[in-house]
Each structure stands twice: as structure tokens, then as C-alpha cells.
Symmetry: C2
Subunit: 579 residues, 2 copies
């Protein structure tokens, strides 16, 4: 018998004795009320914790005791069922500092963004960084790197590499399979990625917006288990009826939870989870995390006992998180104390039996790591103003039209003047948009025109560009565009704004995606830059920087720019700017 | 990438095409109604099956089609959440022939009885025999061999062997941990067995009759996940509230389902399963199997959608049965068609996409195997009448009192006459009871006295004796006792009855536990023997043979006989027959 088994049996003996009250528990939460997700009832008692696990609930005394005097209600630590930590633009360490005071204990994280920049090394960095905190980050192996064949990403991960990597215990499963057309059309590489995961018994996350009927059945039949992309409650109900777990999403840009709530009932609630998917740092620090999703769920009429099960037990069942998701003997001592089951303000967070946050403040302070593999990820030559010249053959051009509140761009045709071999956009509401490849020094620059954004007298640029994270820039002046892009090269990725001669920037030095600063500093710096952009005329209906991050997303209609050129999503082919 | 992944991807492609209706499915059940366990609703459509899996439900055509014309309701194949196949006294092959026409598709089987006789080889035999049938038998590794230290079993399986064997994919988990005093008292070998299972991520079944409060918390804290021994709905509710799955049992001797039903509600139903534990062949062939438990559950007021979930989806979740428990795309095509959700008469059973039973008849006929390792398991010398002499010191003796409908025996003191160095029981209602060791030719014979059974003029014996399965005999005559026991030696185990000069027997030639005959033949033969026993005066309140099988069970109060002697369960020690 190996020592691991012996140690495990010794720990069990201690837990048994603590459960019986024969020895003092390490920690006892005296006079606690808690939501029992097995019964849906609020129970009370002293919660005895020993060796990081719950020994029992009843009348106990401990070496350490915290008397909560019957105030508030404990739940098990909350789980975000699907998210990309990179979207917070915070490092995993900083994200943990922000989310744990809200009662988050586990996140199912798909490091899709960083792996598109740095390859699998990016995922390993995320794991190592998260390991410096008490937060449990269960990584999914990104399935779609790159997301499309129409742009240049930092890494390419094929079916063979997926088959190899998915066996690594680091990965809990296969990340969201966004290539739903590939699945439904039997693309062999796509099906092999799924099969490789199924063969080693791992969960496969889905992403199947708008699929329905037989195509949805086809998608699910491959073993894809979850979806977080439902836009209507009918879509959610259809997915649940076909055996999927559905994540009710309440992120920053996307929050369908309220729309989907009517799909939940007392019989099927076990098949729903909560997630944020993409959550910006400012929303995180002002509104909260999964506790905020719980607040919204309960406000939408989902009974608290069902909503809490979604954020705890259901997530544990869906993702095979052993020992997670409930307050009961033998379960991990991951607990969150909320003021009540309506407001979900977290007063105390306990992880593995240790108090990790109190009254909204994390009690741990991880030393951040900056792995070589995720630093200096902007690999490109300096650009020059000439790189941004757009020479039209005639008087009309294809122009992207954008509107606030939607990721969809319009494919419009406008009359555009030219002068000296370049478009002449001065005095119009049309701007240049450029996507500059920044991974392999290819020199690729895709150019296009955009209207509606509203910047005057300069340029704005960011190195976060879904999903390949090249540099996207918008401007009305070639010199300013070149300056903005070169500033991002200089600072190793981030956000830049050029106003006349002035250059402002804020680095996202980790893979060009995440800031090494604290959440507060990062939010302040990016707000400051954004305000400067609004002062230059950017329409306030848009998030000044994040709007740029989606202009290269070649899977959402209608017109996009990637580093390889202008792309017509409806035709699923590159197109000519000359209309 | 290995070929398994490639093959799996190829199968997925075929399933995807079938789901889309682009190719004909292998089999389509036209115009089917089915209970959707994700929604609790009855849905309808054509169920398309391809490569043994469900492709989709909608409008489909298949290479083969079965039109059920909207009659009846399909559920996923049923799962018995906990049982001992040996208790049917049928081989695994014959058991499959009997249970699959009732819609059973998977059984979680603890081969506790045969492993007590033959060791791990017995479990392997069960697996090989079951593999000759379409029934999926998921074996649990017996945790308590022997069950107590007070009798001689065929095998002893310690913590080291458990730690080794539990890694074998043959075993789905650790079988019911009956040694609950050992758990609660931190017996290191017991805790190591549980720890070894936990360390390789396998389920541990429980067995904790009457434990409550802190002792129950202690038992559960070790990671034990299920219990099927609840006697009251309050016990069931307490276990569910502490995170256990509770099996609602409806076997032959024990059927608590009706008593436990009040513990189930719409919120917690996900934490309940159905099981039979021990089901005799005659009940199996006359009443049914898990479909009968469903019938009882619904009669007790449990909504059909909840009851069916217990027998399908809940079992799949509790035991990590991937692809089981629902009718949905990608799930295994294990289906049962019932007349309705009240009577649960099974009309058609499909396993892995093949029709395996129709109108109560199995369509497969396995060729039974008789492994050497499970044959000739009666290892003992012939006994003589002198072996059954009971010499008292005085006029009073300790006597077991038995009553119908209870396994509990009374520890009574009676005046018993002696004559010629042996007790003289002629003309009284007291009989001799003997337990003869039959595994290792030790010559051990435990002797006692019993009253209430009612046999006159002979002896009765059986080689099924929980849990070590030595030979138990009752009689009023030393010659008859010796004959009955020697008859079992001659036939390699089974049941025997001696009436004066006549010897009748029915072999249980597989490990002395199971008959090689068909269920019908076996039931007829055992009924015939039992009737002969009743004709000799056995009180009809007792099952003539099965009553003997529990007389050596040294964990149930009050007085027992094992091959090592008379045992006082309340004192948990051997005792003297002289009172």
C-alpha cells in the first residue's frame, strides 16, 4: 500500500474523531446557518472543520472558533462554471484577490486567450500563477487555437497536440468547442479533438449559438456536455431537454441570465450552472462575481435554493469536482458567508478551512510571477505611416458600420474621397482601422474603414483582439496610427492613445492581455485612457478600447478586419475594400 | 494520436450524419413517446440509433425500423443501484435472462457472497459470466471479506489487497462498507480500504443501519457516498441532508421503499436511487425487478418523473456511468418500453441499440460458463452423527428464538433435558442448529439450539450462510444432520432435506450459492424442497431454507452460531451454551 493511501487514512481517522467530537476540530464556525443544497433548506449548527474538510455540523468546539452568532447564511464556495480570466485583464493572482472576497472558490477557466498568444505554455503559466493563491482554477484545454483560419495567431494547436495535452491532469476537460460548423460538418480534426477528450473521460464544453433541432442533436451527439451561449430561454430549454448542462451567463458584455431564467423549474434546475464567461475588472470590483449572478438569478425569480445549487452542487456534478459544492461531512471546507440569500453580500470566505477574505477584503497577498513565456509577446517590426495607406480604385469603399450594444458590424458601401494615393477621410465620420500581426513578425497588416466610432485627431490601439490578439488600431491619421501601434510594441502590449503629439499608454504586459497592476490601478489607468479617448470624440455608446478588441472576430457578422485583410463573414471569405 | 481516438472520431462522424438525417440510422423507433428525465416531461418523436448510441429524436428513417405507434412510454434502461446477484441463486447469465425483459439494463453488483467463498476470482467469474449477456454488470469490490472475525470464510481480503485490486478497471468502486463500527472507531485497516478507493477516485458504497448524528457524520466524513439500509424516512432524510445518495430498497426480504417514500420531494429527488439488494429468483420471475420498484414507488406517491430519474439518471450520476441514464443525443441506446408509468410492464427492451427482450421474453440465450474456480467449493471431511452431540453441564441452555419477518434472534434460556451425554430434545420445540465450516477443511463445527422453527423427524441444510457461506443445518436427529450436511458435500453445495431415510437435494453448484439451472427450474426445485420441509412441520411463517442462511450472521442481534461457536451479538463475543 502506498504512502498516499496511508496518509489519506490517517487524515480520515482525524476527521472521524473530530466528527464524533472526541478531538477538537481545527476550526469551528459557531452558530452558523447554512443553505443545505441537498434539501434546499436552511439548517443551523456549528460547522466543524479539520484538515481542510468539514467533519460535521452540530455542537462542536475547536482549537480556533469563529462565532457568527446566527447572522448571515453560509453556502459552499461558489463556482464560476465557465470563464476566461484573461478577460478581466488581470493576472490570475490579482483575479483571485478580487473574486474570493465575493465567495468564489473555484473557477472553470478556459485560457483560450493566452493560449492563442503563447501556446500551451500560456495555460501552464495561468496554472502556476493561480497556484500562488487559494483560488482553485480548473483549466480547460482550449479547443480552438486559432479560432479561425483567417488570421494569424501566436500558436496553432491541432488535434494531435490536443490528444497529447488532454491527458495531462492539468486540464480538466476540453474548452468550449466554438467550431460548431466543424462539428456539424464532420470536420475530422474537430471530431478528433472531441474524441480524444472523451477517450480519457474528460468533459467537453460547448458553444453553439443559435444551433437548433437536428444540427443541435448532431453537435450534442459527439459528447459535448455544456453550453453557455443561449440567447433565449427556448434555446436553453431545448439544450437541457437534449441532456446539456446550460450555463446561465452574467458577464460584462453578455448577460442573458434574466432572459434564460424562465427555462428553469423545480424539476430541471439540476441541469443549470452560473457563469460569467467574460467579466471586466471594473464590473468585478464594483458589482461582484458569481455572487452577483446569484443576486440577479434570485431577482429574476429563481428560488435561492435552486440558484445556489447552480453555483455549487450542480457545477461540482457537471465538472466532476470531487468534494466540492456542498456543506456536509467529508466535503472540502470551502465556505462563503452571505448577508442573506437576496443580496448575496459576502462577509467571510473560507477556503480549505482557512479564512481567506473578510468584509470584502482578501487576507492573502500573492507575490505575482511574470513568466518569461508570457512577457515580451509583441513580435513585430516597427510600423511606418506608409503602412496605413489605403489606395482605392474608385470612389466607393466597403465600410464597417458599428453600433453600441452589439458585436455585429454592418457591411456598408460609402463614397470615399481619395487624395495623393490614400483615402481622404478628413471631415467625415469614417476612420481607418488596422490589424497588425504581432506574433511572428510577418509584417501582415489588414486595413479597413469604419464609421460611427467618432475619434478625431489621432489614433487608439490595443493588443487584445479576439481571438488571435493581434494589434487593432483606429485613427484618422497615418502618423498617429503608426505611433499608437509602435507604442504597444515598446511597452510589450497594452492600450495606447495618440492625440496629436501626445502618446498615452497603459501596459498589458502579460501576453499583451493582462496588466501586472492591481485591479484598482488597472481600472483607474484604463478609465483615464478611455476618458481621454472620449474627449477626442469617441462616441460614449462604445467602450473605447474593448470595441476594438472585437473588430477582428471573424466569426461574427458582417464585416471584419484581420491581419490578413478585410473579411466578409456572411460569405466566409476575404473581400475587397473597393466596392 | 492513437487508433482508439481515430475510431471514436469516425463513429462520431457517423452519429453526426445520422443525427442530421443525412444517412439512415441503424435503427429507428418510429412514433415513440419517452420520459425525458432532464425535463420530467413526456416527449415524442422517432428515436434514431446509430452505432449503439442515440443520434437524435425527431423525424428519422432507419435501415431497420420499429413502429410503436405512440403506444407505451420509453425510459432509459433501468439501473439497480445496489444488489448481490448471488442472492437470486441464479448465475449472472440466468439473472440477465430474467431481468432484462423487465427493462433492467445496468446493475451495480457487489459480489460480496461469492468473494467470501472464492476470493477475487469469484468476482472475475461474475464479470466473465455477465459478459456473455447484454446486461451491464458494474462490479463493486467487496470491502468486508470476511464480514466479521468470528467465522471462517473462504477468503480474507485485507487492506493491502483492496488497495491493489481497487485500481483494476473491473471494479467500479468499493462495495458496501458494512463494518461501520470499524469506520466510526477508526480501525486503520478499514479506513485504509476506504482511502485506497478514494485515492483512485472510485465510489464507496455504505451500509450504516441506525447510525445517526455525529457517528453518522463520522462515517460519511470518510467519503462513503451511499446507503441502502435506511429503515425509516427520517434516517433517509438525515443521510440525504448529509450528502449521501440513498437507495430506496425493494428487494425480497427487505422492502423499505414505501416507508422511505415520504423523505422524497421535488427538490431532493436527485439524491435517491432504487435498488433491490437481495432479490430471490421467485420474486424476480413473478413480480419483476427495478420495474417493480418503480411500480411501488409510484404507488407510494412518488411522481413517475422523479421515480424514473432515480432508476436512470440519478444512478448514472451517483456511479459515474457515462452515457447512461437518459434518452438524448450521444447517450447509449439502452431503452425500455413500458405500458405506462403506473404499471411499468415492460414490452420491449433495447440494449446498445439491439432489441434484447420483447413481451417479457429475452431474445438472447447465453451459453453458461462454469469456471473451475467457482465449482467444487465445498472443502470438508464427511461429518458423523457424533459431530452433532451437544453435552450440557446442567439443566439449562442458551437457545436461539426466531420469529417470522425478522432477522433478529432472541437469546433465551430454556430448560433442556440431557440423555447419554447429549441433549434430549425429542418431544420439545427445540432443535439443534449446526454451522459446518466448508472452505478449508478445518473441521470446525459450531453448535447451538433453536426453537420456533418447527421441523420434526429429520434435518435441513444449506450452503448459503451469510456472510461466510458455511453450511447451516437444523435437525432433531444427529444421523439426519450428518446426512444432510454430507449430501451438500456430495453435490458441491446447495440445499438438502433429510426425512427419515430419504435424502432430497437441489444443487447450488456455483460456489455453493447459485444454481446452474434455469430460473424456472431452480424455483420449482427449491419450492418442492421447501414444501417437503413444511410437510415435516416447518412453520410456514419462515422461508424454510433462507431462514437458515441468516443464523450465522454475527452482526445482527442477539444470538448466532458460526463455525467457531455460539455468539452473543450484544456482547460481541462467543458465549457458552450452558446458561
Amino acid at each position: 500500500m502506498d504512502n498516499k493511501v496511508k496518509d489519506c487514512a490517517d487524515s480520515a481517522a482525524k476527521l472521524v474523531m473530530a466528527a464524533k467530537g472526541e478531538i477538537k476540530a481545527d476550526l469551528v464556525i459557531k452558530n452558523a446557518k447554512y443553505l443545505n443544497v441537498f434539501t434546499g433548506e436552511v439548517n443551523s449548527g456549528d460547522i466543524a472543520i479539520c484538515g481542510g474538510k468539514i467533519a460535521g455540523i452540530g455542537s462542536y468546539s475547536g482549537i480556533e472558533e469563529i462565532d457568527v452568532g446566527g447572522s448571515g447564511i453560509f453556502t459552499a464556495g461558489l463556482c464560476d462554471g465557465h470563464m476566461h480570466i484573461e478577460s478581466t485583464q488581470l493576472t490570475p493572482e490579482e483575479f483571485a484577490v478580487c473574486c474570493m472576497p465575493y465567495g468564489t472558490s473555484v473557477v472553470i477557466a478556459d485560457p483560450h486567450e493566452i493560449v492563442n498568444v503563447c501556446g500551451i505554455d500560456g495555460a501552464r503559466y495561468m496554472a502556476r500563477a493561480a497556484a500562488r493563491t487559494p483560488l482553485e482554477v480548473k483549466l480547460m484545454l482550449p479547443s480552438c487555437v486559432p479560432s479561425t483560419a483567417f488570421e494569424t495567431s501566436g500558436a496553432v494547436i491541432g488535434a494531435d497536440e490536443i490528444a497529447k495535452e488532454i491527458k495531462d491532469p492539468l486540464f480538466y476537460g476540453l474548452g468550449e468547442m466554438m467550431n460548431y460548423p466543424g462539428v456539424v460538418n464532420c470536420d475530422s480534426s474537430t471530431l478528433q479533438k472531441i474524441a480524444a477528450s472523451a477517450c480519457c473521460g474528460k468533459v467537453v464544453d460547448g458553444h453553439s449559438p443559435s444551433l437548433t433541432g437536428k444540427e443541435l442533436a448532431a453537435y450534442i451527439s459527439t459528447g459535448i456536455k455544456t453550453d453557455h451561449e443561449c440567447a433565449t430561454w427556448q434555446e436553453a430549454a431545448e439544450r437541457v431537454s437534449m441532456g446539456m448542462y446550460v450555463h446561465l451567463r452574467h458577464g460584462s458584455a453578455s448577460h442573458e441570465l434574466a432572459k434564460l431564467a424562465p427555462a428553469v423549474n423545480g424539476y430541471n434546475y439540476r441541469r443549470f450552472l452560473l457563469c460569467t464567461d467574460d467579466r471586466h475588472a471594473d464590473d468585478l470590483i464594483t458589482e461582484g462575481h458569481i455572487n452577483n449572478a446569484l443576486r440577479v438569478a434570485v431577482k429574476c425569480g429563481i428560488p435561492a435554493a435552486q440558484a445556489v445549487a447552480m453555483a455549487t452542487l450542480n457545477a461540482a456534478e457537471c465538472y466532476n469536482l470531487k468534494g466540492k459544492g456542498a456543506i456536509a461531512p467529508g466535503y472540502d471546507a470551502d465556505l462563503a458567508l452571505f448577508d442573506n440569500l437576496t443580496d448575496f453580500n459576502c462577509k467571510l470566505a473560507i477556503k480549505g478551512g482557512k479564512v481567506v477574505a473578510k468584509d470584502g477584503k482578501a487576507l492573502f497577498k500573492p507575490v505575482k510571477m511574470f513568466d518569461k513565456c508570457v512577457k515580451d509577446t509583441v513580435h513585430m517590426r516597427e510600423v511606418t505611416p506608409d503602412n496605413f495607406i489605403i489606395k482605392l480604385n474608385g470612389t466607393h469603399a466597403r465600410v464597417m458600420g458599428i453600433e453600441g450594444g452589439s458585436l455585429v458590424t454592418k457591411n456598408t458601401v460609402c463614397e470615399v474621397a481619395s487624395c495623393g494615393g490614400d483615402v481622404d477621410i478628413k471631415g467625415t465620420d469614417i476612420l481607418k482601422v488596422a490589424v497588425v500581426e504581432r506574433h511572428h513578425t510577418t509584417g501582415n497588416i489588414g486595413l479597413g474603414l469604419i464609421k460611427g466610432y467618432g475619434l478625431k485627431g489621432g489614433a487608439i490601439a490595443i493588443s487584445v483582439g479576439h481571438d488571435s490578439h493581434n494589434i487593432t488600431a483606429i485613427g484618422d491619421d497615418n502618423v498617429a496610427l503608426a505611433r499608437a501601434v509602435n507604442e504597444l510594441k515598446r511597452i510589450g502590449g497594452g492600450m495606447a492613445l495618440v492625440n496629436g503629439d501626445k502618446v498615452y499608454s497603459h501596459p498589458l504586459e502579460v501576453a499583451g492581455l493582462m496588466s501586472g497592476a492591481s485591479a484598482k490601478e488597472h481600472v483607474a489607468a484604463s478609465h483615464d485612457l478611455a476618458e481621454k479617448a472620449y474627449a477626442m470624440g469617441v462616441d460614449r455608446q462604445f467602450d473605447a478600447f474593448i470595441t476594438l478588441s472585437f473588430l477582428s472576430l471573424a466569426v461574427i457578422p458582417e464585416l471584419r478586419v484581420t491581419d490578413r485583410g478585410l473579411f466578409d463573414v456572411n460569405k466566409f471569405a476575404f473581400t475587397d475594400i473597393n466596392a
